[in-house]
Amino acid sequence: MGEARSSGMRKAGRMILMPENLPPKIYQDLGLTDYEYERIVSILGRQPNYLELSMFSVRWSEHCSYKSSQKALRDFPTEGKRVIQGPGENAGIFSIGNGLAIAMKIESHNHPSAVEPYQGAATGVGGIIRDIFAMGARPIANLNSLRFGPLDRPKVRYLLEGVVAGIGGYSNCVGIPTIGGEVYFEDCYEANPLVNAMCVGLVKTDTIIKSGARGIGNKLILIGSATGRDGIHGATFASDELDESSEERRPSVQVGDPFTEKLVMEACLELVERGLLVSLQDLGAAGLTSSSSEMAAKGGVGLEIDISRVPLRGEGMQPFEIMISESQERMLAVAEPDKVEEITKVCDRWGIRAAVIGQVTEDGILRVVNESQTLAEIPARALSQEVPLRNLEVRRPAYLDNLHHYPLPSLESEKDLSQHMLELLASPNLCSRQWVYRQYDQLVETNTIGLPGADAGVVRIKGTHKALAFKIDGNGRYCYLDPFAGGQIAVAEAARNLVCRGAQPVAMTDCLNFGNPEKPEIYWQFVECMRGMSQACRVLGIPVVSGNVSFYNENFGEPIYPTPTVGMAGLIEDMRWCTTPEFKDEGDLVVLLGE
């Protein structure tokens, strides 16, 4: 409260909020529509300046705002007796009894992995890990779901090798076992591979921390790496006037630093454990803009950020660059002023930076200042939650009619059958995945009682009799042929895989990979898939606790198959009940269940 600005200062500051002479329609270059721009003007009651416009453009991007998918996503069942936190936080959480809970989430990093497979995949893993420890949970397992083009193309091999090495490089270094995943090869993913990373963490129910900022006068602390020009998108600086720097100075590919992540993770978990934080949030897409507006909106408060206090890595960074940078390995925390010293000590001990960059205010405004100069003032709630939702058209794609009358070639003789069997076994889509998971540390933390290679990965929970099985599944081909049934199958398959390990499926997370939703056929696929998945979840009684949507997975207008990925958790009450797939003894009966 001590540092709340006097109204005099605020007025003086407001002077510079007058729009600079921005080129007309610069908002279009930033990816905003006419309608969205009008909304921004009416929210602010004036024209936005460039910084404000940049902040809106990244926060209201599809990636951050879910403006095309929000409505459809409401269909998912998200409640259940175990659910502690449904979608909407950094990760979903469900209870497993004994005062313990599991946080889980999936995230896609498809486009970055297509450009730089190692770093793209690595930073994808880094992002999802931060989502988990942002809830105060210690990550206990990673999984991943991968899709590539056919393996006979050198470029595809390069992507596959890089992605797998990147996933391993990051999770192995942070020290989280990768216990499962899937990888498929299909033409439609050739130029647009899918890299979905899932992380699960264990948390005591009474130390769960959330992102909503609280307590007027509390400090806003930026923890971790310095901020550079990472991931600032090309589209963001298209205007002549503002683009004095060369493209070279603005790398949009990010390099992961798993070592720093490990230190940031340990520091944050220690801070949470010792009760030093009020709230915690990771910095992901749209960097400070997104995380601060979410923290403020969720807490029903305002936040003031002084960009002069943000530790920087790049020289001469502009305010908008600081506010939208996607530099990795950073977290944002709110803490009471008298805890700041202690927090700094903990971070120092772990060898990472903690900088007080602002404070919680009463007025609901996200205010960006540079020392005493106000640079931006935006109602946090509007920025975070009032993006105009899109009403997209749906149309059943014409290809379905042809496909449904496709003549399936018939198998002729017995000889054919064994030949086909051999071909199937040798197919990259069915053969052993050992080549992949051998590159992942599956064992660190000494909990992995079900290794990759069987239906689902299993970790035991030390100090209890319990274990948890996790599986990630999806089948783009089915969804392409029938998105509704494909969605159902994805959920059912994950559930079956868990049951095969003796686990009761209890919660789900998902990652919905689709083409351009502005095409009615694609949006139809999306809506149908969602319907199928939701229905399967309802029937099986499995709530969805978190998820992620990735649109625009296309290459030169050719969309990928609709590919929802399902990540599911199953509870094994007694780890001795955990089952394995192999035939055990000679003479045992073999029984086929189902139709």
Binding site: N172, G175, R438, V444, I449
Partner: protein, 256 residues
């Protein structure tokens, strides 16, 4: 409860520290504490463990930066006074970098991280870290590393053999040392070595990740139990002689 007290050193980026701690505390129920990398004079420890993980991200070279941690002077002194020092994976790399053990690690021959269960044959059970093993006993342990391709100059290798410093070698389940059993290209299938005095031991496989039947193998426990047994016996009844005679172990011609 045993009086022996273990210390597990925590470097920035260590990630098997908690695993070692768990095995000692919960499975073997012995006294164990973490030692922070910045501590210069920790007191009252009988055995030290440098755990696996990625100290300093393994940037530059595995173990290269960690070896300069303030705690490392203490480790050196401790070793010089005959204290038991165990380095696992990254810990082994740190021991190599600081010269407590001879040789260096190159990248795996396959250029990829390898995580899998392998077999190692105990070629010397006369040291404090393998005393509980039978001669030539085969252990099933996991490896998980990028740089486990052990290298040492030929002259030194000869000396090491003469003194019985080659302790573990990658082998088949039956204990035959073959090229196929070698997961990383290590010279002579070397998986674990000790110093001349036999009180410093480094190995690439992870005994702490294989110390319980439910995790697939409990062979790793043997390493920790050997150390404990040695400490409790309170005397050096192993590996005294200058010339070490390896048990006749089978070995395919690795040079072929």
């Amino acid at each position: 409860m045993s009086k022996v007290r273990f210390g597990v050193i925590v470097f920035p980026g260590s990630n098997c520290d908690r695993d070692c701690y768990y095995v000692l505390k919960d499975l073997l129920q012995v006294k164990v504490d973490y030692i922070w990398h910045q501590e210069e004079k920790p007191k009252g420890f009988d055995c030290l463990i440098l755990p696996g993980g990625f100290s300093y991200g393994d940037y530059l070279r595995c173990g290269a930066i960690a070896r300069f941690s303030p705690v490392m002077e203490f480790v050196q002194d401790f070793a010089e006074q005959g204290g038991l020092v165990l380095g696992i994976c990254n810990g082994f790399q740190i021991l190599l970098e600081c010269g407590l053990l001879p040789g260096a690690m190159l990248r795996n021959q396959g250029l990829k991280f390898v995580c899998q269960f392998i077999y190692v044959r105990v070629d010397n059970n006369q040291i404090p870290f393998t005393g509980a093993a039978q001669p030539g006993q085969v252990l099933q342990l996991p490896v998980k590393h990028n740089e486990g391709n052990y290298y040492v100059e030929e002259e030194t290798l000869k000396e090491m053999k003469r003194r019985g410093q080659i302790v573990l070698r990658y082998s088949t389940k039956e204990g035959v040392v073959t090229r196929e059993a070698n997961p990383n290209g290590a010279l002579d299938n070397i998986a674990g070595i000790c110093n001349e005095r036999k009180n410093v031991f480094g190995l690439m496989p992870h005994p702490e990740n294989s110390s319980e039947p439910i995790l697939g193998s409990q062979d790793g426990l043997l390493i920790f139990k050997s150390m404990l047994q040695y400490m409790e016996d309170g005397e050096f009844r192993y590996g005294g002689g200058e010339e070490f005679r390896y048990e006749e172990g089978r070995e395919d011609d690795l040079d072929a």
